[in-house]
Amino acid sequence: MTQPRTMLEISGLEKSFGDIEVLKSIDLKVQEGELVFVIGPSGSGKSTMLRCCNRLEEPTSGAIFIEGERITDIPRRDLDRMRLKVGMVFQGFHLYPHMSVLKNVMLAQIKALKRAKPEAEARALEMLDQVGLKHKADAMPAELSGGQQQRVAIARALALDPGVMLFDEPTSALDPELVGSVLKVMKDLRDKGMTMLVVSHEMQFAREAADRVIFMDGGYVVEQGTPEEIFGNPKSDRLKTFLSRVSHEDAGAEAD
């Protein structure tokens, strides 16, 4: 069997905002087809780390490799080309409100990837079908539920054929009953072999779907392992504290 390809590698990543060190030293690898989950308390730098992976944030130091290419060195004018390889899904969806769903999914295909319009449209419809929203192609984003908007946002990223997908708390802004549809799309994606790095608080989903779970706290990767190891047999005190706090919150939420 061939060695699995490393799709995303983070090495010694540091990021400061002014005097505040958010990421102190992050090392992380994501292999092809892996779904890696990042958990940790808010303010632990999870989103910042994700945003460094397509250079929406500029790392202070360290290196990030996408499919073996060191993206932390490439000049600004090559950023757009690099970003085509890294799909990103945001907590707030950020669909373009002035365009139909179909146009949302076509825009970057045409303008950044330089696909011909008929091809872009066919690809957009295919991706919308994959997230179960082909019938909403002509709708405007405001006519969709939050869950549907997030699925369109996923289709928009997928249409560019990225090698890696980054998810930044994709379900945090959703009503609880809409979370499932988005998670299902992510699960389908995983089954199709997409490489995914996911920052999320959906612990149950991490348990079911993640290949590996990374626990971040205070700007470091404190612990990582399979879901069984992380949730079943946490080693560090910080992870134990975090997990017990989260499970209390879950219990609290169910009691409501």
């Binding site: 799909g87 373009y96 970057a108």
Partner: protein, 222 residues
């Protein structure tokens, strides 16, 4: 009553003056077209400069915007037309008006655009950039269409202001609508041409004002 009508609504005099006023109106429209198109383009450039991360560019744009919003347009016009010749710069009345009102108007449009762009959530740009669109593409296809929609009533209001502003051009003897009407008044010793001119301004501006009012009411309802 009859004297009143003879003085202000004299149809004979109005029809005599009409060809002259029509010429003036054409000049007013020409002036508006140039000032509005240049003002919009310049305003957009200034707004982008005022939002630029480059400090020197940003501060020069803000200084420009503040200066020309604060200076009264009539002062600017008189300075450009009658002041600059002292420095050897002699401009035709048309050019003087265009330059003075461009300075004034581009700074107003810049403020409107800046507000519109600022009101577009930052996540929109980030989403666009994350899909590989360049800064310019993100601006053109994602941010500006939303920004313009945000401030459409203000852009229209400012356009109405430009049309009214052009009447100031009469002080540098540019034969636009007001100047022509005033000429006709002094030739005929009758105020009717002025009333006719007012009517012509109204004819153009009233529908615009209506549209703005409806749009603003629509925004309030939504």
């Amino acid at each position: 009553m009859d004297t009143f009508i003879q003085t202000f609504f004299n149809l004979d005099i109005m029809s005599q003056a009409f060809p002259l006023l029509l010429k003036g109106a054409v000049m007013t429209l020409k002036l508006c077209a140039v000032v509005i198109v240049c003002g919009l383009a310049g305003g957009l450039m200034l707004a982008l400069a005022a939002l630029s991360p480059n400090r020197a560019l940003r501060w020069s744009a803000i200084a420009y915007i503040d200066l020309f919003r604060a200076l009264p347009p009539l002062v600017l016009l008189v300075f450009v037309y009658s002041g600059l010749p002292f420095a050897g710069v002699r401009l035709s009345p048309f050019m003087a008006v265009v330059i003075a009102f461009f300075l004034n108007n581009s700074s107003y449009f810049a403020e409107v655009f800046r507000a519109g762009i600022n009101a577009v959530p930052k996540g929109q740009t980030e989403a666009a950039r994350a899909t590989g669109l360049s800064q310019a593409q993100a601006l053109t296809y994602v941010v500006l269409p939303q920004a313009v929609r945000n401030v459409l009533p203000d852009l229209l209001s400012n356009t109405v202001e430009v049309v009214k502003l052009t009447s100031l051009a009469s002080v540098v003897s540019l034969s636009e609508l007001l100047y022509s009407a005033n000429m006709a008044r002094s030739v005929t010793y009758n105020a009717s041409p002025l009333v006719l001119a007012a009517g012509m301004y109204l004819l153009v501006l009233w529908p615009l004002v209506r549209v703005i009012a409806r749009y603003q009411r629509g925004l309030a309802v939504n």
